[in-house]
Symmetry: C2
Subunit: 389 residues, 2 copies
Amino acid sequence: MRRDVSSELLEKLDVEKVSELLDIPEHRITGAIQRKTLQYVRGKQDLFRFDKTISGIEAGTCIFPEPFDIVRGFPKIPRALMLYPGVASHFSSCENVAVEEKMNGYNVRVALVGDELAGLTRGGFVCPYTTDKASELIGQDFFFEHPNLVLCGEMVGPDSPYVPKSIYDIESLEFFIFDIREKLTGKPMPVMKRRELVDEYGLRSVKLFGEYDVEKAHIEIEGVIKGFGRSLNEGVVIKDPEMVITPVKYTSSMSNCADLRYAFEFYNDYGRDFFFPRVCREAFQAVEWNETEEELEERCRMFGESILLPMIETIRNKKNGGNVTETVQIRVKDLKTAQEFEEHLRLLGVNAVFEEPEMTGNGYLVRIQKKYHSTSDKTESILNGDLWA
Amino acid sequence: MRRDVSSELLEKLDVEKVSELLDIPEHRITGAIQRKTLQYVRGKQDLFRFDKTISGIEAGTCIFPEPFDIVRGFPKIPRALMLYPGVASHFSSCENVAVEEKMNGYNVRVALVGDELAGLTRGGFVCPYTTDKASELIGQDFFFEHPNLVLCGEMVGPDSPYVPKSIYDIESLEFFIFDIREKLTGKPMPVMKRRELVDEYGLRSVKLFGEYDVEKAHIEIEGVIKGFGRSLNEGVVIKDPEMVITPVKYTSSMSNCADLRYAFEFYNDYGRDFFFPRVCREAFQAVEWNETEEELEERCRMFGESILLPMIETIRNKKNGGNVTETVQIRVKDLKTAQEFEEHLRLLGVNAVFEEPEMTGNGYLVRIQKKYHSTSDKTESILNGDLWA
């Protein structure tokens, strides 16, 4: 039975062509389809997505069978825990590094597939809402002249159904570009060339803080991060201006604690593996910045509160008969997009209830209640007297 | 090759007899030996130990082949996160519950095997140091009349090489009994009968706080835990006086935070899975005790500091050229015990350096440096500029 499904899928895909273009042996591709690590997804545009990295092809890479096209996944960006000597040693072959803002939203690749835009999430799904917003915010002009390039950027703002944030003074949703890459190879464009090209088309880039001597970059970056103050800007991405060396990210403690606050509100849906790297970031930053006893005290207080208070709030809320949910919202011109997005979330296994759309000036606002079942059930069971095995 | 080793081991064990006594099919026993979940350990007394629970036989159960004997493992004690309704619902078939102290040391079973005492650790190893201390602290009198019983208790004090604590005003090491069980079946003795028997032989029991009406126990236990104040007493174990229903444990926030402080000093050797349940304990206790804003603030501060400060200390220490080690000590009459203990730690895969013994009044004090390689290496690599992948 399973073999039948696989062979049906294999008929949809020109395995020989994929093998040649991506330089992977054919048997690895057919094997990946059988194991569902190369997964067929029906949607606005049907595609095969890499669920994991295989033979050096990034997770999230998409293969569109008809019309045939490939969009490479967005590579994982390693993180510095100590700016010094982390930055200097990683970029030792560069003279300078460019430092751009790492914004807090969700990672999107926008590409032209056939004659339509596709808004791809990090995991390699075509998100109907993101696609709709991409058409509105970016349009096709760029792609008429550059059909083989992908715009990689952050979708940011309160009308984000994935990472809703009101920290940037954005009214609805905006797209900030931080990379332009070749569709098939994923090869990135040098930083300044990319920023100019983005400007040319009237699109938006993430903020550039500057280009710094690699040996002094850690001091400048510390200044940038400290300059965020108590605002929730996430951090920076440090880049080889030529984009030959892989970029590196570094984030602020405020944003780290905000992540913890969010995750521990839904503690049993996130939890274990989420926590540990975030503790390490706090500890190494405190050491690198040589904090005083007072600064340490403040850091520990904020860190402790970021974990316990949201969790306590969730338990109290459940105890008082409330639900463990998160409300997000989308803003659409056409209700068809909301319907397609509802199907998309179902496909992803997200349990969400869509409220009645509210008419606004030029479209609809749709509030969505995301349900966190694992946290809800665990909390309820303990409140009812179950023990921790 | 592996098959040969297994069959050699099988010759040592009367599989038919074990199968009959423990009521497990023979093939499960031979299978477990082949997979090394029933593991042969050479030592003071050679034995087979259950590395995991198999067919309802607890992990840590020991089978001694010569002279043949079986000592059942100490069962896992579930934990209440909310005293109410956790205690009432778990013990719903009891009128009263007995509340005894849960001490902070290491769990030991002492049994007579052949004509020698064996001090067994939770995992089912004969620890030569523990055995030596058991002979000194308990002796064989009890076992002459009760050869089929096992004394289960906590080894507590500063001369503990596993969990050294100076919180109980104990000079060297003491053994506090909390259970007497049948060797072969693990069946426990009723609480009061056990305490009387322990008294009869001049041995020590853990503290009994009282017997309480099951519906009111949560109030009494809250009083006991709060009565610990800022001292580091670990918590309580709540028991069916008849010991028919499984006991339940509950611990204090002070002790929880002390655990965190300890573990995060060696953050990469403990880490991930260690953390999550301990966060949950704090959050549920705060809700159950209906804490004020001030109390919550203090709890968060202590919690945050318990995690970050020891980790920061470790990183700073490493940065200044120090080592990531823990110093523990043992006190022995005969240096042969120290040598045997050194071999025992090697068998367990613990990397430890034994310092030169110091003569004391009636024996020797031996300091042991335990090395935490994973934390040491990880810290060093990040200080040297490695990134977090």
